[in-house]
Symmetry: C2
Subunit: 349 residues, 2 copies
DNA sequence: TGGAGGCATGGGAGCGCTCCCACGCCATGT
DNA sequence: ACATGGCGTGGGAGCGCTCCCATGCCTCCA
């Protein structure tokens, strides 16, 4: 059984998978025609289309992505890049939801998803090389900071790119963001509507545009409610629980009469709540509290946290959709999409 | 500028990236030698190695993965497959931690990570085709159920595979699991040690081995503490919050004298806590509660939840490590690794 | 001194596609 | 009747690598 063909070499077929050529032979057509059918392109006779379709089905043919990538200029792969330099900044479920949305959209388009976590500064620097080697059709970037060079690196490579969030209001790269200003405004309006007068805010890290947006919204909300803006009521946080704790202490020191807090993230709200509790202040009795993200933790807090929901999964889907359009060349102007947020009222306010 | 070479065709270079051949020319050696240097393989003279190294650096050469995959039999890519058929079963942070671990290990080995969420039954069926087309070197599978055919499909393709968790104690495919039995035992021993006598359990879905393991551990714990096993104290859940709620109600109906509950997941503990609370029962005063996962939600519950921590990220790392070894052919026997768990005591018990 | 063996090396062949040119066929126009 | 043009088509070339065979050199042994 081992050597059936004279002195012939043992066949070196690796996968046993049928190739384009075999499909062509079986269908009685040329390679070109099969390729055309598969790519749904140009003009192929109905008859050939049918014959090829049958051959593909019979053989269980699936085009080889590596060969395609090498021959064509497309790879049908997209990279989702997540910088993780600074410890798990964003709330964890956030990424998962983004991934979920991205994956759904890419899956529908039969593109594959390459997940790239950038951990060290070194990895960050080798990024361009990395992208070049991967041969991806486009890049999705999450969690960008003001001075982040990554987006520009990608653009310099001529690769389509879409950011989640923007670095600044003049972001040149396409992005999908949630309405941070609206989030801040709606939170404050809600608080003011419940009779709160001394509404403070705990901001995110000010090297992120999202933090600025929410802060701007906070100010708009105050103005809309006819409340005076008092800079003592603004404390800087960093989106972490511990940052929220520190900011809350600062706030209580500066303004003991504070009666509401808009925290720019649920995590910071958690920290703030702990401090409030420790000081014997009742939530929402003495101080009302609102967060952002509507994360699972918000629901399970005691009291359940009022929070501004972002459509995270939808942002993921939208990002992927934009990227796909960019790759297809249908999106020459970099799109900027801002998705609406929604206030979810619970017992903390 | 446009046409400098007689009637010659315009150059069609797509990326401008240097190729192996160019490196070879610059280093004054043949293609083969460069390839050998890059792959760190066989015997190359010190001199050639150096020349090639310099040329690579000067040109900024990075090997093209697609070409490599096509020519060789390796792709340097690994798929992480996450079935999502039934709504987000596992607690969300779980997956993220797995991904983190996997990514860290793969990144160190310069392998790329393909994330594949399987959503529909149809996608599940096209899985083999998918894998064939992707040309991955191996597959990591998460969240496997008893009758899951996915692992066998992968093996049938001759692909290395590692599971997170196992389908049954006789799992033929390599896997990494946490010590579910130990988790159950330590929780119950802890409860018994605090004087609890009527210790109930809310199990996971019984088509998952992890659920069985934790239940077995629960029984061992009772036995070790000299407590009688009472089947009325066992209620079946499904790892969801709502399942936990239902099971807790059932438990209270069957055994109003229950004084402790071991829930096989934090999420179920959350559900159980809500029911207990609603019935006016104090935790831990009347009923002590222990969960599994040590998820963020456990920390923020009121009272903070005692929980059995699993080394999730480490499981991810270990899985990737095992897979890499399998790919390298160093791991002929399918490895089974069980990682220890650790009880984190908080105020709920 | 001649032959055998080892080792570094160059380069042909080929992985499975896409791209594109050239060919033949047909229906038209004059 | 012949030329014209379109359309479907086949298949060569080539994407950038790895694999492996053949080559030439050098050392070692008899």
């Amino acid at each position: 059984m081992a050597a059936t063909e004279g002195t012939g070499a043992v066949s070196r077929r690796q996968t046993g998978r049928p190739t384009l050529e075999e499909v062509a032979a079986r269908a009685g057509v040329g390679r070109g025609t099969v390729s055309r059918v598969i790519n749904g392109s140009s003009r192929v006779s109905e008859q050939a289309k049918e014959a090829v379709g049958r051959a593909i089905a019979e053989l269980g043919y699936v085009p080889d992505r590596a060969a395609r990538a090498l021959a064509g200029s497309r790879t049908d792969a997209v990279a989702l890049v997540v910088p993780e330099t600074e410890a798990r900044l964003f709330a964890e479920p956030y990424f998962l939801d983004i991934i979920r949305g991205v994956s759904a959209e890419l899956g529908a388009a039969d593109k594959q998803l390459l997940l790239t976590l950038i951990r060290t500064e070194q990895e960050r620097q080798r990024f361009e090389q990395y992208l070049a080697a991967q041969r991806v059709d486009g890049v999705l970037l999450v969690s960008v900071h003001r001075d982040d060079p990554l987006p520009d690196q990608v653009r310099a490579l001529g690769l389509p790119a879409v950011l989640n969030g923007r670095r600044s209001p003049q972001e040149p790269v396409a992005y999908v963001d949630s309405d941070n200003v609206g989030a801040g405004r709606s939170a404050v309006e809600h608080l003011a509507g419940r009779g709160r007068r001394r509404i403070a805010t705990i901001t995110g890290p000010l090297d992120m545009d999202a933090a600025h947006g929410r802060l701007a919204g906070y100010r708009q909300g105050l103005a809309a409610a006819g409340l005076p803006a008092d800079e003592h009521l603004v404390a800087t946080g960093d989106f972490t629980e511990d940052g929220g704790r520190r900011a809350m202490r600062e706030l209580l020191k500066r303004c003991p009469d504070v009666d509401a807090v808009f925290a720019a993230s649920d995590l910071m709200a958690v920290g703030a709540l702990a401090v409030l509790r420790a000081r014997g202040l009742d939530v929402p009795g003495d101080v009302a509290l609102v967060g952002v993200d509507d994360s699972p933790v918000a629901r399970h807090l005691d009291p359940p946290l009022t929070s501004v929901r972002q459509p995270i999964e939808e942002m993921g889907r939208t990002m992927a959709g934009l990227l796909l359009r960019q790759i297809a060349g249908e999106d020459t102007e970099p799109s900027r999409l801002v998705l609406p947020t929604e206030l979810v009222v619970r017992e903390s306010s």
